[in-house]
């Protein structure tokens, strides 16, 4: 990866319906964006997430959230939106989640210059594949927004 590069990271679980929205968008963007932009679809984030943005100038992270807002709501966040990050993204006691990883990266001065986090409100986190009717249009909208952002 060269300095100044953009890295896009989609997070989620393919088998918990709307939780897969980050993966879905990352895969969509993979077919739409010019080369030179690194895209990752990650099912097990953990601490190794930091390794994905070493030397990156700009990082865009996409993940599902559960904040109580209507399904399909798009939350556009920055790395310092600490409270929202801590309370609304899926975390696990098995490993470091997105909020802990961002907080640790900040403490270690390893945050990229620009970090944008798209949190998409899920409405169905049950077992199974496929996005819900509320989340699918939001996924298309975020895909278009990121594409426009990178072409601007």
């Amino acid at each position: 990866m060269t300095s100044g590069a953009t890295v896009i990271i989609g997070l989620g679980n393919d088998y918990r319906r709307d939780d897969a929205v980050g993966l879905y968008i990352a895969r969509q963007l993979g077919t739409l964006l010019p080369s030179g932009i690194t895209i990752h679809a990650i099912e097990q984030p953990g601490l190794s997430l930091c390794d994905l943005w070493t030397e990156a100038e700009r990082v865009i992270i996409i993940d599902a959230v559960s904040s109580g807002a209507p399904g399909g709501t798009i939350h556009l966040l920055k790395a310092d939106d600490h409270n929202f990050l801590c309370n609304n993204f899926r975390s696990s006691s098995h490993s470091f989640g997105l909020s802990e990883t961002v907080a640790l990266a900040r403490a270690l001065n390893q945050l990229p210059k620009r970090m944008l986090i798209y949190g998409i409100e899920g409405s169905d986190f049950s077992f199974g594949t496929g996005l819900s009717d509320e989340v699918k249009p939001a996924a298309e909208q975020v895909t278009a927004q990121i594409r426009a952002l990178l072409n601007s």
Partner: protein, 429 residues
């Protein structure tokens, strides 16, 4: 003393969800219950009716921290059922993969989960603000372990390259040599980690444990050996269930393991270290003596030093294996599946992990039994608290609560494996 209740909503820095209840009466612990309320996960039940080939990948999904242990116990049990023995370079590569898991799992616990207890921080993020170099070293060291798992296992988490009889794909020599360069750094970092943790302050506490681990005449145990204890047990892996029984207790969704006729035993790094010290490499034995542990450690709070020594060993052993590695002709040995029962026991980072499978003539799993280390250590954690808390009653309530949590973290409990945040309730009467 008046009745008091302490609640910690989330005992952070353990893998899993559970609660701890402690009632103190007249200077003694009247009741202690490690309450694992994470729902049962039914792995043994849904393995039934699946093809034997699926067991290593299915059981790897039990844990994101120690999936290699599950794969290893699974393949060894199945190979036992089929009467085959994987030896030579394939055996060495499995050992190398296990080194990777010990490095990543232990380093995560040492630097990010346990060290904050000794340095007085709520968590690793707070610690990182004051000790950036230390946390960065920990992360780099952990990464070396992850890279071994990724190379041998196909990916860092829930590896997919292990199969009955060997591997799906062998590593390329140049990739192993590249790894060796990183492991040379890791070995130095591990040595620094031993020196660092040996300088922590430890509460005086040294129960007369019965240490239970694998033991092998020629090597520090990962995959093979007899099950031995510091108090006379010496049995073959297939005899595990004759001596160690699981029982249900009302306050836990994880079965408790007991060994009738023996004390409440301890599995894990301390047990391995004490039962197998002379099989550690000279470098590790020397580092151990310099750290003040010349072959015996009974203080569970010092398990952080022992884990550091095991990380050092895993780096040293990984380098030895890579140096001596001669690629085998095939990635898997020939074998014929057959009906039978097989037993496998390997040393997961947290201790002994036993699998037993009954396979039918079509290769389907008829029955499965998995006994993880944290399930075995549950009674021991409770026994430690019963013995430790009365020595700490002069502490203010908040410090006592924290000491209790630390005593639980000594075990690096993987509650999810055993059945996930610990809620602590402390009551004085």
């Amino acid at each position: 003393m008046k009745n008091r209740t302490i609640k910690v909503d989330t005992l952070a820095r353990v893998e899993g969800e559970g609660a701890l209840y402690l009632r103190v009466k007249g200077g003694k612990v009247a009741d202690v219950r490690l309450n694992i309320y994470e729902p049962p996960r039914f792995f043994e039940a849904f393995l039934r009716g699946r093809q034997y080939r699926e067991a290593p990948d299915l059981t790897a999904r039990i844990c994101g921290i120690c999936p290699v242990a599950y794969q290893m116990s699974a393949v060894h049990a199945l190979e036992d059922a089929f009467g085959i023995n994987v030896d030579g370079p394939l055996r060495a590569l499995r050992r190398l993969l296990y080194c990777g898991e010990w490095i990543e799992s232990h380093t995560l616990h040492i630097y990010l989960l346990h060290a904050p207890d000794f340095l007085g921080y709520d968590d690793a993020i707070q610690m990182a603000k004051d000790h950036r170099d230390l946390v960065e070293r920990g992360l780099q060291l952990k990464k070396a372990g992850n890279e071994i798992v990724a190379l041998l296992g196909g990916r860092e988490v829930h590896p997919i390259n292990v199969r009955v009889g060997g591997f799906y794909q062998l590593p390329h020599r140049q990739d192993l040599l590249r790894l060796a360069e990183k492991l040379k750094w890791a070995r130095e970092a591990a040595l620094e980690t031993v020196r660092w943790t040996a300088g922590f302050e430890f509460p005086a506490f040294a129960p007369d444990y019965e240490f239970v681990s694998l033991s092998h005449p020629d090597e520090y145990p990962f995959n093979e050996g007899r099950i031995v204890s510091s108090k006379g047990l010496n049995i073959a892996v297939r005899e595990f269930n004759d001596h160690i029984h699981e029982q249900h207790v009302p306050h836990s969704n994880a079965l408790h393991a007991v060994m009738p006729g023996h004390e409440i035993y301890l599995a894990g790094p301390l047990a391995r270290f004490n039962n197998n010290f002379t099989r550690l490499s000279p470098l590790v034995q020397e580092a151990s003596r310099a750290a003040g542990l010349p072959g015996l450690c009974r203080n569970p709070f010092q398990s952080i030093i022992v884990r550091s020594l095991e990380v050092l060993y895993a780096c040293d052993e990984a380098l030895r294996i890579i140096t001596e590695y001669e690629p085998p002709a095939h990635s898997v040995i020939d074998y014929l599946p057959r009906a039978g029962i097989g037993h496998g026991c390997t040393e997961a980072p947290r201790g002994l992990l036993y699998h037993r499978y009954e396979i039918d003539e079509t290769g389907l799993i008829r029955d499965a039994l998995i006994v993880p280390p944290t399930a075995q250590n549950q009674k021991r954690i409770e026994a430690d608290l019963r013995q430790f808390v009365p020595t700490q009653l002069a502490l203010p309530k908040d410090q006592l609560t924290w000491r209790c949590e630390q005593a639980v973290r000594n075990y690096d409990p993987c509650i999810s494996c055993a059945t996930h945040f610990l809620k602590l309730e402390l009551e004085y009467e």
